[in-house]
Amino acid sequence: MPPTTSPDARARLWRAAQLAPVLSVLVLLFGGALVLALAQSLGFAPWFGVNTFPDPSYFGSLWGSADFWVSLGLTLAYALAATGLALILGTALALALVRAFRGQRLYKYIYKLPLMIPYTVGIALAVLMLGNGGMVSRLAAFVGLIDSPGEFPRILNTHYGWGIIAVYVWKQTPFVALSVYAVLLGIGRDTSEAAAILGANRRQIFWRVTLPQILPGIVSAALICFAFNVGAFEAPFILGGGYPDTLPVVAWRYFNDADYTLQIQGMAVVVSIALVAGLILFAWLALYRWQERRMGRR
């Protein structure tokens, strides 16, 4: 280093050097992909021989159609329902796990299994279990509740999305449990014991002491799950109820359409998904920052 550089400048340079690799991946690939997607959704696609940039008509026709809003609604509804369920189950599981009980070690293995396994396996399991020809349906027939698979209430491939939600919940409950468990270990038992001594019963302890403390952890885990669910493709594709599809599946269909101009429409869908997800993240971060500042943590 030449002695003329001030220590501050040197520190800045060194910092930049350390951030560079991650930033380059992020900016070039991720940012590049986003920009490209945006440009394309605005009509910039010379490789299909289309270049009407900037052309808001793709968004216009997308957002102008009722189908889009139905799809968005479905996407958000499945994601929300699954996240909510996973959240409740995962938190309950984490709370159970911090208590000592027999076989705890074994459960600690078991509950993490879905976390380690790809979604596709979860889908396969859902098909085998919940399908009209699946295990549950067969058991129902075995005990004489139904006589033909058609009588079995449809779980997969309906617009209620039970199958999709089941897979998400199956896969994400452990994730939530793991996050919450780590946070629970972090906050320790002190505060809940203090509350007990102050006379709080179990319910009060949970709602007024434990939950507020683990809430940031829960919410960030939920956010990750929710965002994933919004963008997930496999489960709604295989287990969904068909038209109207969730947004990622809609995008996929546009991309697989013989009509190339529809790919641009697909890009508009993709960008819309990203927009929804980004908005949610931004809102959460803003809220979190505000809360942290209020509590004087930063």
């Binding site: 002190d190 505060t191 001594i197 102050l198 507020p212 403390q213 509590m295 004087g296």
Partner: protein, 346 residues
């Protein structure tokens, strides 16, 4: 305002014995310090009294009634945790109000009592802050206020001062002492700092390895420790081995000392304790029983000076107030008054 009694209470965690057997009576309205080295079972004892832990054996009585069937919530005890355990997501005010608000008291009454207690702990202006915005001493006081507001019958504090600066610690000690005297609440105070125990407590229970080693008033413990361990733990520096001779005489490496003894028999091995600050040091022999020595080290502590004196085959520490400074190497005479010595049986 409750008398607390422990009857042969024991606690095991799996194979590990935390408390062997503890008998302890904490009189109504007194402040008792549990004193002992780390891991001796102080926290465990408090947790059992509060009901957070169930004794493996023995009984805990409040006012003579066994409380084993009484849940934590119903025992009406208060506990200040070692690391305060303030609720990080609540303001000072909310923290303090917690105990009342879960009891469903009317808002106005809660507000009134919170304001009052915050006044007592001098934190009125901090009431909107979150714990992370407070200093250690302030958190401490919030924890105390939060506990006191529920008017517990028994107040427990688990090393409440361990995490404070020396200066603050003294201040908080005085604060706690004053408050306890004012409210007259039965208080159990855990510490592993003898000075703290001495200063604060009406009685001190010294616990070693899950067993009560001695229980009594601070000055009694300090002057008349029941065992070598207690003496050492309470900071006694001059513990000279000896052997009982005739009544009132003990043979030691310092010579034969005049020192009344009541228990034991001639010939028993004992230790003689002579606290360093109770030994007079002079540059001239004034009595035949004076012991000759030579200063080999000197330490200046501001208010006091400590000398290490070589006498015969042993070392004696002497502390005196720093009004004069004796020189290193100077020959000195030590006066060990019989009433300032104490015989500890082996």
């Amino acid at each position: 305002m409750t008398e607390v009694q422990l009857r042969s209470v024991a606690k095991r965690f799996g194979d590990e014995v935390a408390i062997e057997a503890l008998d302890l009576r904490i009189p109504d309205g007194e402040l008792v310090a549990l004193l002992g080295p780390s891991g001796c079972g102080k926290t465990t004892t408090l947790r059992m009294i509060s009901g957070l832990e169930t004794p493996s054996a023995g009984q805990i009585l409040f006012e003579g009634r066994d409380v084993s069937g009484v849940s934590v919530q119903e025992r009406n005890v208060g506990m200040v945790f070692q690391r305060y355990a303030l609720f990080p997501h609540m303001t000072v005010e909310k923290n303090v109000a917690f105990g009342l608000s879960i009891r469903g008291l009317p808002k106005s009454e809660i507000a009134e009592r919170v304001a009052e207690i915050l006044g007592v702990v001098q934190l009125s202006e901090y009431r909107k802050r979150f714990p992370s915005q407070l200093s250690g001493g302030q958190m401490q006081r919030v924890a105390i206020a939060r506990t006191l507001i529920t008017e517990p019958d028994v107040l427990m504090m688990d090393e409440p001062l361990a995490n404070l600066d020396t200066g603050l610690r003294g201040e908080m000690r005085r604060f706690i002492r004053e408050l306890q005297q004012r409210l007259g609440i039965t208080t159990i105070f855990v510490t592993h700092d003898q000075v703290e125990a001495m200063e604060l407590a009406d009685r001190v229970a010294v616990i070693f390895d899950g067993r009560l080693a001695q229980y009594g008033a601070p000055d009694r413990l300090y002057r008349k420790p029941a065992s070598l361990n207690v003496a050492r733990f309470l900071g006694a520096t001059n513990l000279v081995p000896g052997r009982l001779r005739d009544p009132d005489l003990v043979d030691t490496p310092l010579g034969t000392l005049v020192c009344p003894w009541r228990q034991g028999q001639t010939g028993d091995a004992v230790h003689v304790m002579a606290r360093s600050e109770l030994i007079d040091i002079g540059t001239e022999r004034t009595a035949p029983t004076d012991i000759e020595g030579r200063i080999i080290a000197r330490e200046f502590f501001g208010a006091t000076v400590s000398y290490s004196v070589a006498c015969q085959n042993t070392h004696v520490n002497v502390t005196e107030q720093a009004r004069r400074m004796l020189e290193l190497g100077a020959p000195v005479w030590l006066k060990l008054a019989p009433e300032h010595m104490w015989i500890i049986p082996e």
